[in-house]
């Protein structure tokens, strides 16, 4: 494949040399000395510059259209020289192809460096230019007599009828339209240069500057010849030199990218250093020549990207002037490079750099993941502390508002009783009854409160009995299915109990269901608790503080808690704990 391509390119190169030699021969023995045609050395320089640079670019970047475009433009250029030759055929071909190379040139500078026309305006300019240099040129030739061009010119084989006014009109309109296209293109390129980011600008500036100079010189030259003013030769020569520079600049830019691949080797060496004092992001940004490059790492546990400190980050969206390239390893994303859009045209280099840095990236990703987990752990610990604090406040409030009040009221009743007893014992009876009732209520409240702090039955009888008791007391009819043969650690029993207790409370309060099923099973070192109601569903996981607190409690024991609550299909809360 590569060999075939090389052979083809060599063939084209030979053709290009021959075309140049032919053009040189034609131009060195001119039949005429028409205006606007550069001298022989310039003609050769431009043509070979296009063909040679085009072939080398083609070889360096076979995926890029600009190589073929440059080669074609080179041949078109040589074809335009033929008009100076002897004989009607050469003359006519030369006339027909006189300005065709300009369309290729316009395509080249408007699509550099990607080789694709990106905007509607780009496409419109190239299409217009192509129409002007092909159809427009042929149209005016139909009415042009060779004697109108020069005295000793060969015969114009395309001439249908001589109409000098029409030919001249067509020629002038072609020139005016061409000037408009050139001016718009120059403006467009200038805007692009100003707006480009630093890496972009560095990549395109030689090509665009040479292109602007060439077009500007051409515009002046065309204007001069249209007005019949002097100086068109000088500007024609200037534009010729500038034209010759552009393909070389394109080739240079392409080769520089080739050279940039050498940076990959540098990167490998740098990352291999035992004392990696430079950060990975820094090494990558140097290898890719993009100082703005930054790195984000994939955190699979939460399916999102984090920075090197493990903090969650968002990737730039479209239209933010940044691009992201995902680095994968074994089909899994490991990181994403956030870089300048200019790098997009050099995907190969980015790929090689990423491949070279893959192992180090994976290491860094693991570290970032570790930090992310640490951050999450710290947050969960803080929440646990907070939950403990809230729990203490709740207990204090319950004691203050309930038990303490009741005891004070009992104290008051006793005080009242004391004042009654000496003189009015008959009034004492109802006060004693009240006091006894108040005492019973206080004891009830106290019992409930202590049960809420830690269910005594759990400590005394274990999880199966405690769950049975819990399900019996539940406000909704509750079916319990137990398969607990193994001995569980105290804290797992306690967490499992509270999972069921909280789930039952939620089901009672929010589900609008008619019954609940509770399953607790222990198999293969895993305790699974499932509480499912047949209510309205639609419970948001992780939103209620109750669920958040439960999640923390379960995760603190290395377990997981999931809530499935599709609307209309009930809520199922499932907790899994490693046990033993």
């Amino acid at each position: 494949m590569r060999r075939n391509m090389n052979a083809g390119l060599i063939g084209l190169g030979v053709l290009g040399l021959l075309a140049g030699a032919g053009a040189l021969w034609v131009a060195s023995t001119p039949a005429i000395q028409p205006s606007g045609i550069p001298s022989a050395p310039v003609a050769l320089l431009v043509g070979w510059s296009f063909i040679g640079s085009g072939l080398l670019s083609w070889r360096a970047r076979p995926d890029n259209r600009l190589g073929p475009v440059m080669v074609l433009s080179g041949f078109a250029w040589f074809a335009s020289v033929l008009q100076e030759g002897h004989g009607a055929v050469l003359f006519t071909i030369g006339q027909a192809f006189q300005v065709l190379y300009l369309a290729g040139f316009l395509y080249l500078i408007l699509s550099f460096p990607s080789g694709r026309l990106q905007t509607v305006l780009d496409r419109a300019l190239v299409i217009t230019a192509f129409a002007l240099v092909s159809v427009g040129q042929l149209a005016s030739l139909l009415f042009t007599d060779e004697r109108a061009i020069c005295d000793r010119c060969a015969t114009n084989l395309l001439e249908v009828t001589r109409n000098d006014a029409l030919a001249n009109g067509l020629l002038q309109s072609q020139r005016i339209a061409g000037l408009v296209v050139i001016v718009i293109t120059i403006g467009l390129l200038a805007v692009r240069l100003v707006r480009a980011s630093r890496p972009q600008r560095r990549a395109v500036i030689p090509v665009l500057l040479a292109g602007i100079v060439a077009l500007a010189a051409l515009a002046v030259s065309v204007t001069a010849s249209a007005l019949g003013a002097a100086g068109q030769d000088i500007y024609g020569r200037v534009s010729g030199y500038a034209f010759a520079v552009v393909p070389v600049a394109v080739l240079f830019a392409f080769l520089q990218r080739q050279l940039a691949r050498g940076a990959v080797a540098g990167l490998v060496v740098e990352l291999g250093e035992p004392s990696a004092t430079v950060g990975l992001a820094e090494a990558l940004s140097r290898a890719l020549g993009d100082p703005s490059l930054s790195l984000r790492y994939w955190f699979p546990a939460e399916s999102r990207y984090v920075d090197s400190d493990g903090r969650p980050v968002t990737l730039p969206g479209p239209g933010e002037g940044r691009r992201s390239t995902v680095v994968e390893r074994g089909g899994q994303p490991i990181a994403v490079l956030i870089h300048d859009p200019a790098l997009e045209h050099n995907a190969e280099l980015v790929d090689s750099v990423c491949a070279a840095a893959g192992l180090t990236l994976e290491n860094e990703r693991l570290q970032a993941e570790l930090r992310a987990r640490l951050t999450e752990l710290q947050a969960s610990r803080a929440r646990l502390v907070e939950a403990t604090e809230a729990e203490r406040r709740r207990i204090e409030r319950d004691l203050h508002d309930g038990t303490q009040q009741r005891l004070v009221s009992i104290a008051m009743s006793l005080g009242l009783l004391e004042s009654k007893l000496p003189g009015k014992p008959s009034q004492a009876q109802p006060i004693v009854r009240e006091t006894r009732q108040a005492l019973a209520a206080a004891l009830d409240e106290l019992r409930e409160l202590t049960q809420g702090i830690h269910p005594t039955i759990l400590a005394e009888r274990g999880l199966p009995v405690a769950l049975d008791e819990l399900c019996h007391r539940a406000a909704l009819p509750t079916h319990l299915q137990l398969d607990l043969s193994c001995r569980l650690p105290d804290q797992v029993e306690s967490a499992a109990y509270f999972v069921v207790s909280e789930a039952l409370t939620n089901a009672t309060k929010h589900s609008h269901g008619s019954e609940v099923r509770v399953k607790a099973a222990c198999a293969a070192g895993l305790l699974t608790i499932e509480v499912a109601d047949d209510g309205i569903g639609g419970a948001a996981a992780g939103h209620g503080t109750g669920l958040r607190g439960l999640t923390d409690r379960v995760e603190a024991l290395g377990g997981t808690l999931t809530v499935s609550s599709p609307p209309g299909r009930g809520t199922t809360l499932r907790a899994e704990f490693p046990c033993g």
């Binding site: 203050h400 508002d401 004070v408 008051m412 005080g415 009242l416 004391e418 004042s419």
Partner: protein, 216 residues
């Protein structure tokens, strides 16, 4: 004597009202929070407001804030703040607004109807009441670098505590089964030992004593 009772718990509010009526007070108004209390005080012009310190909406020290507001708007109104906790700081905050007609009692004191009635009456008459638990907290505080109270005799410390509770010489004498004259001698000694400016007035010396206890 006209009384307004403020407590957010109905059971205690009604219970207190019942007790106070039993003890011969006229309960002119009931309030469930601070703002209701201020309204009731404006409406009923009571001699004493008996106020629970912890009420809605924040359940922290609304009672204390309302009490301070009453001290400013109607200085003649006696205020007895009831609390379930021994917070010397709250008691002192209240006293710092002026000791005339101010009291701070633990809620559980309501079991002694005679004591409650006498406290309300004392506050209504412009005296001050400081719960013995608060006083004992103040007296028994560990003080860095030499305790000046160490120079007092045990009996003098008892008298100091009773003074801090807001009791008069007569009441102290009754409590300790001594003559009023003996109490006066103790008081003079205490003031001299602690280098407090002499303050013959039963009411005013509370602040001096409490400030001293708190400052050390």
């Amino acid at each position: 004597m006209r009384v307004v009772v403020a407590d957010d718990a109905v059971i205690l509010r009604e219970g207190l009202a019942r007790l106070l009526r039993e003890a011969g007070f006229e309960v002119a108004g009931l309030a469930a929070d601070g703002s209701e209390l201020l309204e009731q005080v404006e409406r009923c012009s009571p001699d004493v407001a008996v106020v629970d310190i912890r009420m809605p909406p924040t359940h922290t020290d609304e009672g204390l804030q309302a009490a301070k507001a009453i001290r400013r708007s109607r200085p003649g109104t006696g205020i007895l703040v009831l609390s379930q906790h021994v917070h010397a700081r709250y008691a002192l905050e209240l006293l710092s607004e002026g000791t005339d007609g101010v009291g701070y009692l633990l809620k559980e004191r309501v079991s002694d109807l005679a004591e409650l009635a006498s406290s309300v009456r004392r506050v209504g008459e412009g005296g001050s009441v400081l719960d013995p638990a608060v006083v004992s907290q103040l007296v028994n505080r560990r003080r860095p670098g030499g305790d000046p109270l160490g120079q007092l005799t045990d009996r003098e410390r008892d008298v100091l505590g009773l003074m801090a509770e807001g009791r008069s010489n007569k009441a102290i004498a009754e409590r300790l089964f001594v003559t009023e004259h003996t109490v006066e001698k103790h008081v003079k000694n205490i003031f001299a030992t602690l280098r407090l400016p002499p303050s013959p007035d039963d009411h005013r010396r509370v602040l001096a004593v409490v400030t001293f206890l708190n400052a050390q």
